[in-house]
């Protein structure tokens, strides 16, 4: 206090006002938001920009420690597209994203409709499904890797028992099936979250709409098409874009089930990017692939923000 008095009343007053604002004014709010924002900018915002920068630089073991590296222009992008695996990975990413999302959404929606019926224990039993959501991805991958095993896996036994297949399918080592092995595991992993969000949307539809439609003689299918689907439009938009984002974030299943093999037939963009950086130590290509993926994620999140905009504003 003495120091502040000596430096003059003006500075002391400023200091006091600053402290008071921190304790009892807008400074308090700025401090609370600011601390989180500084952390997020340092740990997510700047790395993101750095990633884009690296995709235009030559990065090797000698320049890894420096920020300013030789400029590469679009050479990294050209190199990535010319990789022999590029189109295979693009196709796998498309299959993985499209069928994971489709499977999660269709099964999740069916389950959500079923659990929207009024019966005892509905919400408790529905809650059990969410257990997949809290499990470590690698453990889920390990369990599915064992279920899908070609020679002693239980899925082959069940499918043979049901008469769907005649001989064992080598899910993980057959190039025709390897990506589907991961898709199956990912559908299992993601469908509970889809179902939960869709259930929330279903619960928000006013009951009397259905009663009015029933009085007018609409059957169940007509009620679904004319009431449920239109009323669920923004929920469905949000669920689908969250599904796209979640599928592009999925990584743990790949090292656990197929490691991208055999011969890259189950490698998707996110795993390829990691392999480039951390198995081949080609950080420039790793960064380039992840920038490409980022564009996809941004498109998905624009759709997501648009479909939930009124809820954010509310």
């Amino acid at each position: 206090m003495g120091v502040i008095m000596e430096t003059g009343p003006a500075v002391g007053g400023l200091m006091r006002r600053f402290l008071a604002s921190l304790r009892d004014g807008v400074g308090f709010d700025i401090l609370l938001v600011g601390a989180a924002m500084v952390f997020l900018i340092a740990m997510a915002g700047l790395p993101l920009i750095y990633n884009v920068l690296m995709s235009f630089q030559q990065v090797d073991m000698f320049t890894l420690g420096s920020l300013i590296r030789p400029w590469a222009g679009f050479q990294n992008y050209i190199d990535v597209v010319r990789e022999p695996a590029f189109w295979l990975v693009a196709k796998n990413t498309f299959i993985f994203v499209f069928f994971s999302m489709g499977g999660q959404f269709v099964i999740g929606f069916a389950l959500a409709l079923f659990f929207a019926q009024n019966f005892p224990g509905a919400s408790t039993i529905r809650g059990l499904f969410l257990v997949s959501w809290v499990m470590p991805g690698l453990v889920v991958g390990a369990i599915w890797s064992w279920i899908l095993a070609g020679d002693f896996g239980v899925l082959n036994t069940i499918l043979k028992g049901l008469g769907i297949i005649q001989s064992n399918v080598f899910w993980k080592s057959d190039p025709a099936f390897s990506i589907w092995a991961v898709v199956i595991a990912n559908i299992w992993l993601g469908l509970a979250f889809n179902m939960l969000l869709l259930s929330v949307g279903l619960a928000a539809i006013p009951r009397d709409l259905y009663e009015a439609a029933e009085l007018d003689g609409a059957n169940a299918l007509q009620r679904f098409w004319t009431i449920t689907l239109p009323m669920m439009r923004s929920t469905i938009g949000a669920v689908l874009s969250l599904g796209l984002i979640g599928t592009l974030q999925q990584f743990d299943l790949f090292p656990a089930i197929t490691e991208g093999g055999p011969a890259n037939t189950s490698t998707v963009a996110q795993y390829w990017s990691w392999q480039m950086s951390f198995q081949l130590y080609d950080f420039a290509k790793g960064a380039t692939i992840s920038v490409m993926m980022l564009v996809l994620v941004l498109i998905a999140s624009i759709i997501y923000v648009r479909s939930t905009r009124h809820e954010v504003r509310g």
């Binding site: 609370l32 938001v33 750095y50 420690g65 470590p136 453990v139 279920i147 969000l197």
Partner: protein
Amino acid sequence: MTRPYVPWLLVVVALALAAVYLFPLYWMYVTSFKSGSEIFANPPTFWPREIDLSIYPNVWTRRTMHVFLWNSTLIAAGVTAITVIFGTGCAYVLARYRNVWLDIGLFSVLMLQVLPASVMVTPLFVAFNQFGLLNYPRTAVVLAAAAKAMPFFVVLVRATFMTVPRELEEAALVDGNSRVGAFFSIVLPLARNGILVCAILTFMSSFGEYIYSKSIIQAPALQPASVGLSGFLGPNSTDWNAIMAYSAIYVTPILAVFVLLQRRIVSGLTSGALK
């Protein structure tokens, strides 16, 4: 007349659906109870012929699981601490006020939520390398994973703060409390349950964190349980009862917490997830 029976039929169907869905979990436990030769029985037995638990202590010591689980706990605790300390205040302000700057803030938090860890791991690794943080690999993982966990936490906790009536806080201010005082003595206690559930969710998800740990932590003594599991898991694994026993030891605590808090977790998620 048949009306009262319909709900019970639905309950049976619901239980059957849940049983099919939870079969992978059942299969994990059953496999871990089988002996090394029984897992290769053809056709597989859906109930172990004789329950053999000897693999549990075996895996625990052979795989040094106490080291891995301790590292997982440390990392998850660090991530949760950073997320709760920074995220709670941020969520509170974002729930209380609206202006252009906070809208931009909220929008960027929503955007950060979608960044895949596999995109962030390359620049984070190179940057950590430049700053020398790779010499403290667990700290580096905690920082990276906290940045990944925080946006989701902020979105969920913001929904909790929205349910705290503003009038209570204003009354406290009229009574002579400062903003700091009102925040700590009125708002935080009222939002405590929601924050606690979100903190537990953060802990559980960072307990299973894999990609940052795998990429950043090289020394086995510092790796978490997820990396430890990946050490003997691959497309050609055969050691299945050991892998399943390891998995069972790893996830049983998480499952126990989930079952205990299931109702709260589900309601916390539904209130925040779509906002």
